[in-house]
């Protein structure tokens, strides 16, 4: 089933083992080379925590089910520390074609709720295939040249 980054924000995260609520989705961090959801970011700044996509047992419409409390972890590298500050959030990000021309701001990202594979980047009234994503960082998401209008 297809899910959306925007719709996922605020969704509660529940441990499948204890049925306890662990927090809520702040945003999703992507692996830009695999074009895949890498992890769920919970909270912001110094208190931010991460849950790897591999720990997600069900990304449902009402809750995100994860293995257990130990799924929560601190940021592990510079990229995740940048993500804690919200710098890598794909929604709201400027996009550039690889030719250096702006394509607009990312309004939403859709992904497969089972696999975590990115499907589309929604930019205004356009839906660009996630396969055209070449890289994404704090400044911009870069897309293949044939995505220029």
């Amino acid at each position: 089933m297809s899910e959306s980054f925007r719709n996922s924000i605020g969704r509660k995260i529940v441990s499948r083992t204890s049925a306890r609520e662990l927090g809520a989705v702040s945003h999703l961090l992507v692996d830009d080379q695999q074009r895949q959801v890498a992890s769920i970011v919970i909270g912001r700044g110094k208190k931010a925590q991460f849950i790897d996509w591999a720990q997600v047992t069900g990304f449902g419409p009402d809750a995100v089910m994860v293995t257990d409390e130990s799924s929560l972890r601190s940021p592990a590298d510079d990229r995740e520390r940048a993500a804690s500050e919200g710098k890598l959030e794909l929604v709201g990000k400027r996009t550039l074609s690889e030719l250096g021309n702006e394509l607009g701001q990312v309004d939403d990202v859709t992904f497969d709720a089972d696999s975590g594979a990115l499907e589309h980047l929604v930019i205004g009234d356009r839906r660009l295939p996630a396969g055209s994503l070449l890289g994404s960082g704090s400044y911009a998401a870069v897309l293949e040249r044939d995505q220029e209008p």
């Binding site: 830009d32 080379q33 550039l96 074609s97 690889e98 030719l99 250096g100 021309n101 702006e102 070449l134 890289g135 994404s136 960082g137 704090s138 400044y139 911009a140 998401a141 870069v142 040249r145």
Partner: protein, 186 residues
Amino acid sequence: MKLLMTASQIRGLPVVTIRGGEDVAEVRDVIYSPEAGRLVGLTLNQRGFLSGRRREVLPADMIHAIGQHALMVTDETQLVTPEAAPDDIAHPARERNVLGDDVLTEGGTSLGQVVDLVLLVGGNGEVVGYQIERAGGGHGYIPLPAQLAVSGDALVVPEITAEFVQDDLVGLGAAVDEFRDRLGLT
């Protein structure tokens, strides 16, 4: 699409990595070879407020693309130290600067003075024209042949250049091909 940009439009563009999506530098200045009529490379500034010069330079061969909003490189390893860069980037010759040069036709008429370079971006950064301050006042754009005689004082252009002075970059884009066609015929 053919896109023409002046060197001053390229200065200040962020240098963005395609694989990282990071703005690793911004363009400080354009280094080019008047004889070859092409971009040689770029000097760089650091990004951000109160930023200074970046020591590394970007050889033209390392540029993936120059666009309207950013200059794209594959990754940050494309930025090289001056020691590792070709000599004409590390030590651009002062006499190669054509800004302020008088543009003279072969017949000895001055069309004006060079105030900026016009580059065809998207390709290898070919310099296809100059923006000039016209002798009679006001700005204009002239197309260039592939090569021409140039010194620190003046550059000499074919006589027919006078017929191809354009008021804007759009006009120049159309004029370049026709100008070069005419030169091929004459």
